[in-house]
């Protein structure tokens, strides 16, 4: 986007003197304050896998404000209804908005009181519709969502992006997780992982992300969803190792650099 777009609203109002209201929020400058242009407070990766009893999901508790790690106690995974767990990366305020939509959805579902309930598949598809429709209006919810759950013994794990791309898989990750965690999962994931093995696998992924993703912090939660319900662990930190020989004298091979 050209630099002058973000400065001096007056100048820029002069450029768009005929605000055409045809419902398309792209056309007018004033309308830009009505839609999401950039994310501000963001969460980094989510990593999730299916295991023997259901789904395991991991995320850290950081909320970045650009390059500043501003918030360190943000829960980016929440239970939805009885059968689902939602994790989000991207804009935190949009995640909170999504939670409000889902709250209403679950409430109406419960009000029926008829023995039918929304499962993870239904929630995933509802979210896909919401995200895609927002994208079509050029006003996205700036998140990548991970939806996991168990219903009637069947595990479900899926993902929706801010442009409405949606799919299911045995293991998913968002953001940096796609580049750093998924290769590990492709090699080491297998069906019917025990809880302990699943957690170990997730911790391995989260450790790599901690080393290599600048917006990751060493305070993470692991959430588990099974037929019985959702549990989100207390926050804890991973042990890290920095005594690699190459870190001791990093410029040994390139004098003058830092």
């Amino acid at each position: 986007l050209p630099v002058w777009f973000s400065i001096n609203a007056d100048y820029f109002f002069l450029q768009f003197t005929i605000p055409i209201d045809n419902g398309d929020s792209v056309k007018t400058a004033e309308a830009d304050s009505q839609r999401t242009l950039y994310p501000y407070v963001t969460g980094t990766s989510i990593v999730a896998i299916k295991y023997k009893d259901g789904v395991l999901m991991a995320s850290d508790m950081g909320g970045s404000y650009g390059s500043t790690l501003r918030y360190k106690n943000i829960e980016r995974m929440k239970a939805i209804g009885k059968h689902s767990l939602l994790g989000a990366s991207g804009e935190i305020s949009d995640f909170q908005e999504i939670l409000r939509y889902l709250d209403e959805l679950v409430l109406n579902d419960n009000m029926w009181d008829d023995g039918n309930s929304l499962g993870p598949k239904e929630v995933h598809n509802y979210l896909t519709r919401v995200m895609y429709n927002r994208r079509n209006k050029f006003n996205p919810l700036w998140n990548t969502l991970v939806l996991g759950g168990v219903k009637n013994g069947e595990s479900y794990l899926g993902m929706v992006s801010m442009i409405g791309v949606s799919f299911e898989d045995n293991h998913v990750a968002t953001g940096f997780g796609n580049h750093l965690a998924r290769p590990i999962l492709r090699d080491e994931w297998h069906a019917d992982l025990s809880f302990e093995d699943g957690v170990k696998l997730l911790e391995k992924c989260m450790r790599v992300l901690l080393y290599r993703d600048r917006s990751a912090i060493n305070k993470l939660q692991i959430a588990k969803i099974t037929e019985e319900g959702v549990t989100v662990s207390q926050p804890y930190s991973l042990k890290t190792f920095w005594e690699f020989k190459a870190f001791n004298n990093p410029t040994a091979g390139a004098e003058g650099s830092w």
């Binding site: 029926w112 008829d114 023995g115 039918n116 929304l118 598949k121 239904e122 995933h124 598809n125 509802y126």
Partner: protein
Amino acid sequence: MFRNQYDTDVTTWSPTGRLFQVEYAMEAVKQGSAAIGLRSRSHVVLACVNKAQSELSSHQKKIFKVDDHIGVAIAGLTADGRVLSRYMRSEAINHSFTYESPLPVGRLVVHLADKAQVCTQRSWKRPYGVGLLVGGLDESGAHLYYNCPSGNYFEYQAFAIGSRSQAAKTYLERRFESFADSSREDLIKDAILAVRETLQGETLKSSLCTVSVLGVGEPFHFLDQETIQNVIDTFEKVADEEEGEGEAEPAAPAEEGGDGTGDQDVAPMET
């Protein structure tokens, strides 16, 4: 029922607390040709009598597929029935699109009932003149509902509506306790036998009735004429004009006990 001074508008109560226009709408249901529904734990069968205006015309469609897992049979003003079927299809497909999951039939009938209720409380509308037997699946299995022009709905193990439905209901009342655990084949047979009850003296032929089935793992579909005729042949003596109470074939398995004597006791076909 007789005409009275409170029956002109649907928005006028009678002193005894009745809405006559709604009751008249329910009379319209009784004029239509019969429709029958029965269900087991896993299947629902809807059957109806094919009545044509004249020998020259074809018969009206009375059973509609709403979705793979929901079907509806109507009796009364067929035009109203068609419009409501379109509404039901729309609700089902919208839910399916948003949630990628079949709309539970119990929720659909509530939407339908609420729609019918609106017409009982607007001075510029009239109640729908059609009764609907809605059969479908949800998480707890197979269900059969009856939706009334009044906006009420009820769940049934088996039910019949339309003209001469009382004969079918009598037949069903005797057998309904066994329906929950019935096999699919027995359920179909009972549906066709119930249809037979509504025919006054006419020999039951497959061309006279339409039968549809849906169940767990079985999407809604109509049975073809041949299949229906085969079922009829198991109990009806062909080319026989006496009201032969055809005995169930002794070879037929899983038959409820007392079948033979039960049929002997059926009241004559007039209602």
